[in-house]
Symmetry: D2
Subunit: 152 residues, 4 copies
Amino acid sequence: MKKKVIGVIGGNTVGKKHYDAAYKTGQEIARRGAVLVCGGLSGVMEASCKGAKKEGGVTIGILPSKNKNTANKYVDIPVATGIGEARNTVIVNTADGFVAIDGKEGTLSEIAFALKAGKPVAGIDTYDIPAIMKCSTPEEAVEKVFLKLEGA
Amino acid sequence: MKKKVIGVIGGNTVGKKHYDAAYKTGQEIARRGAVLVCGGLSGVMEASCKGAKKEGGVTIGILPSKNKNTANKYVDIPVATGIGEARNTVIVNTADGFVAIDGKEGTLSEIAFALKAGKPVAGIDTYDIPAIMKCSTPEEAVEKVFLKLEGA
Amino acid sequence: MKKKVIGVIGGNTVGKKHYDAAYKTGQEIARRGAVLVCGGLSGVMEASCKGAKKEGGVTIGILPSKNKNTANKYVDIPVATGIGEARNTVIVNTADGFVAIDGKEGTLSEIAFALKAGKPVAGIDTYDIPAIMKCSTPEEAVEKVFLKLEGA
Amino acid sequence: MKKKVIGVIGGNTVGKKHYDAAYKTGQEIARRGAVLVCGGLSGVMEASCKGAKKEGGVTIGILPSKNKNTANKYVDIPVATGIGEARNTVIVNTADGFVAIDGKEGTLSEIAFALKAGKPVAGIDTYDIPAIMKCSTPEEAVEKVFLKLEGA
């Protein structure tokens, strides 16, 4: 059976609080044996990959650039799309569920595509969209996404 | 000088009220000599194209499909992207400003990309995002977008 | 009935001979009442748009950049895709038939996608691919594409 | 240091000879510790993934569809782009070098993009493009790509 794939979405600049939340989210995803997919850049993306690697997980970075050296150093597999911001749709199509942390309009576009696709989105300090499962901690967020994916 | 290009975004299924609002938005865009760009399908997209053609305007439909026959019949120039929902970014990159009418997650993704790009978005009965200029009528919405584009 | 849409593909740097061939190709497309679509940049793209505008035609430039100011000045309608070289598929999906003039690997990718889609391609001094209709003059190339599109 | 990423490109329907060549190509890539990337579907893509998995390698399938269940069963990590044939550019941007086996116009588009990017392409029974390194066996093809990547 294929491993679950969890997307972590959020801004490329973050303060310590959200960097830590993203790091713990990555850890939690890896501990559950899921693959982490993200946009491959800095901020929330980097922190979540770093956390996943700490726990021996697998990380995929779906980059806007056609240059795979733009990936942060915790990305195992950089996918260099070369399609700019349109790569947000590739992240959404590739993951089964999402944790959104903080973030700005780019994150909002990913939330929108994820909800359109009927995929679960847990949110920590992010946009106030009704269909998002609001969470206080990374553990709660990852748990809620997994429960949805398991049909609970 | 290049003509202004105004994007009309909204759902592909609408009730009479929003169909009429989209129609009038298309008329108003054409009367001001701007080009109308949209997703080329039904609902708000079709209504706005129909309104623009009534006033002799030019309409561009940026389609998800690679088959240009999927465009509504009021589209002058169908651009068949073949890139699915990623075409939402092409609409946003191509237009200078936007009127959003009603709509669901697809529309939200376009609003998000537009705001990220720093382009003005006027909204009629759509998502409650702070940066959207909330409007009651098509005339007001088009006027507000033009004022922003003219630097007023 | 929708107007026919003819794609002109070729390199963004050309010598005088191919610039002239592209210019005449654009003229011939416009004289026949078809819309010209191209990649919107310099070289063959610019020359063909210039020729089409000389004859009062309509020109569409499907750009790799998300900045529509990258279009050459003979493009009426710049479509700013922001998807980089992947925009070659958008050009191919949008046009009904093609004239290829000179060009390098980018042009070859467009020829490949066009042939895959079963669309006619006339070629002047371009790649030696069996399915291309080899031509000596712009008039012959445009004529052959139109004959194919009319089912002759 | 990042692992090398080798793309295997070719048709989605093949005879036994090319299926076997693709299988051996996948084996050889995995034996050298490189990651295999392909279009994720049937034919040459499936055979190469199967070969790579036989040797314990890692396989990435970059799919045209937004449904990751369209991947063949030997793909470890399906990337569901949802951008149709434009995904060919994502394959090219993601890999460092390529082995092309047989194939039709889709493969030709990938060869074209790869050569444009200045990346090495070894070919077995594929298009007769001068810049392709023509090879008789999978071992020779993989060897030639690795030699180029190592600057030999």
